[in-house]
Assembly symmetry: C2
């Protein structure tokens, strides 16, 4: 399904990410870190250029790298010496601890955590959406939340063509969003069910198997928004440079493994026909329309898993508008699925790295 690619436009045998001689993946034993290693290996980055690093608890073993494996070190200042690019795939506290030292040594840092996302001095980037935010070649770049990346990737062609006034989104988020612990908990509960046993929730506040529940991030006592919903709102406004953007999210965990789904309603500034909406999405690199009404074939998390595209389907005029046929319409609905570990995390970080590399003259 995926092809090996290099960073070079001509394909050939050019080195990937040539301007970053040494690359560290911090949090290399986590789900996103492992995905980052997979992506580097797919791009044929030579294993000797890659340092896989983890916490003291998780370091010391080996990590898969393409068909081979590389050692996993501990993410100390010393282990990070000589690194040109650090992909931080760890939590906010690790990111906050390591970033100042890395920046002081001129290391380019792409941070998957929430630590720097709302810092106005740090660009928050989905390359296909606001890649120009990288033009100043910042040393530190924040990778948005997975749900934000997937949502904005799908809607950005509509924003560019017609303007976006409001977005309603209800999510169906995979257990992998809570890391390996989340996935293991769901699998453990499935095995326990088959054995006629019980497996109490530990990673999540509710049983995950045969259930859906409010995203486990804390719910703000005043606004009633959970952390994930608050992130989607704030990050979408930041990335689209639109403080007035109306966003109404509901974030829910479902018993799925690695791809998120989203039921989306979008209100446009200028009306469009369904055909125009469909074309804009279909023509956008990184988006794949899966929308076969006759055969009932639409995006699903299983279909999106392991893929690099955001799958978009069930594209239809919002029935509340009363628009029929190919009338111009101001609101549309759609169903979006994407692999949150790849598209929603590691792949977005890699694309940021590739764009920075090109700006540094590497590409």
């Amino acid at each position: 399904m995926r092809e090996l690619r290099t960073g070079a436009a001509d394909g050939g045998a050019a080195r990937a990410l040539p301007s970053f001689e040494r690359i560290a993946v911090v949090g290399a034993t986590g789900l996103v870190g492992r995905e980052a290693l997979t992506l580097l290996a797919e791009r044929s980055v030579e294993p000797e250029r890659v340092s896989a690093l983890a916490s003291e608890r998780s370091g010391g073993g080996k990590a898969a790298y393409g068909g081979a494996s590389i050692p996993v070190g501990v993410a100390t200042e010393r282990a990070l010496r000589g690194v040109d690019l650090a992909l931080l795939c760890a939590d906010s506290s690790v990111a906050r601890a390591l970033t100042p030292g890395l920046l002081a040594r001129g290391v380019t840092v792409i941070d998957n955590s929430a630590a720097h996302r709302m810092d106005p001095s740090v660009p928050l980037v989905v390359p296909s959406v606001n890649g120009e935010a990288l033009d100043g070649r910042p040393l530190l770049v924040a990778n948005p939340n997975c749900s934000t990346i997937i949502l904005l990737s799908a809607l950005d062609p509509l924003r560019r063509a017609f303007g976006v006034e409001a977005v309603d989104v209800a999510t169906y988020q995979a257990a992998s969003g809570a890391g390996a612990r989340g996935v293991e908990e769901l699998l453990r509960q499935a095995r326990a069910f088959a054995a006629g046993a019980d497996a109490a929730p530990e990673a999540f506040p509710e049983p995950c198997l045969f259930n859906v529940f409010c995203h486990e991030s804390a719910v703000d006592p005043d606004t009633g928004l959970n952390g994930e919903e608050a992130k989607i709102i704030a990050e979408s406004r930041r990335i689209w440079l639109d403080r007035a953007l109306a966003v109404s999210p509901t974030c829910v965990r479902t018993p799925t493994l690695r791809a998120h789904a989203q039921a989306v309603r979008v209100r446009l500034m200028r009306p469009a026909t369904e055909r125009e909406v469909r074309e804009r999405i279909a023509l956008t690199p990184g988006l794949l329309v899966v929308d076969d009404r006759g055969r009932g074939r639409f995006p699903t998390p299983l279909r999106a898993s392991g893929r690099d595209e955001v799958l978009v389907g069930r594209i239809r005029p919002d029935p509340a508008t009363g628009c029929a046929g190919d009338e111009r319409c101001k609101a549309f609905q759609m169903f979006v699925c994407a692999d949150q570990l790849r598209v929603g995390a590691a792949l977005n970080a890699l694309r940021i790295a590739e764009r920075l590399d090109a700006l540094r003259g590497g590409g």
Copy 2:
């Protein structure tokens, strides 16, 4: 959790549904039919008053009735002779075949199928919402779709107090909505997973375990709506007597067993404070507010399973409105869960029967 109740207001030892001496449950071996029998037994309807009937393929065995069991006959015209109330828990074709004969003999028919829902001469009723539609003591009453019942039950107190202009709803629908086959398929896939095997989809068009997918009803080639979405729109407008009601649904199956969940956004005609919205819902019989922001406790399908209430939580002003604190606001979001076999099907039918019984002087 549930108490035995009788149809009588005084509780006591009065007979349940006294004006219906003999009651038939057609489709008694299906999930909704079994639930109807459970509900009759909970109300202490004497087993000798109840005929459990099914198709030729499914009849002949026994059905659980309270702690005991009753024989399951075949749903022929003959088996239905002498019946006063027929609860049809079968599909539309069975309902269409049996209804004319039953009505001709003066039998009260409550039909769970979609056969008569859009017939303007047949009341479509959620008793707590439009129970007055039963005042004419109709012989034939249609039970709405499960998603419609749950959605309108939760929102009706807001419609009464503030008016409802628009409803957006994304559903998380249990496998039980597709009947016993749906539930068995999900359970079989969980067991196969644990055994390291594969269980291909048969009841559903997509794998159900670890997946979410567009509701399996056919998708209209013109509107792009699936059948479930079209039902929610048409039935909500019929029940609320509001042809202009804006409804924007997305109906999705999730790997859950028997309760549906819904992420709802409602736009009111007259603004309300969050406190008012919360109070209206809390004071409505049949609704239960589960909304503990501090402890992260909200409605879930597992929490709603086996219960007679619609669970409502995550009540919050739509953040797109910018309303803060207890300002008056025109749009709210909430998360709703209810047992679709009980609240969304059999219990609604029983409540229709109880109301008709009271109108006939039975209660």
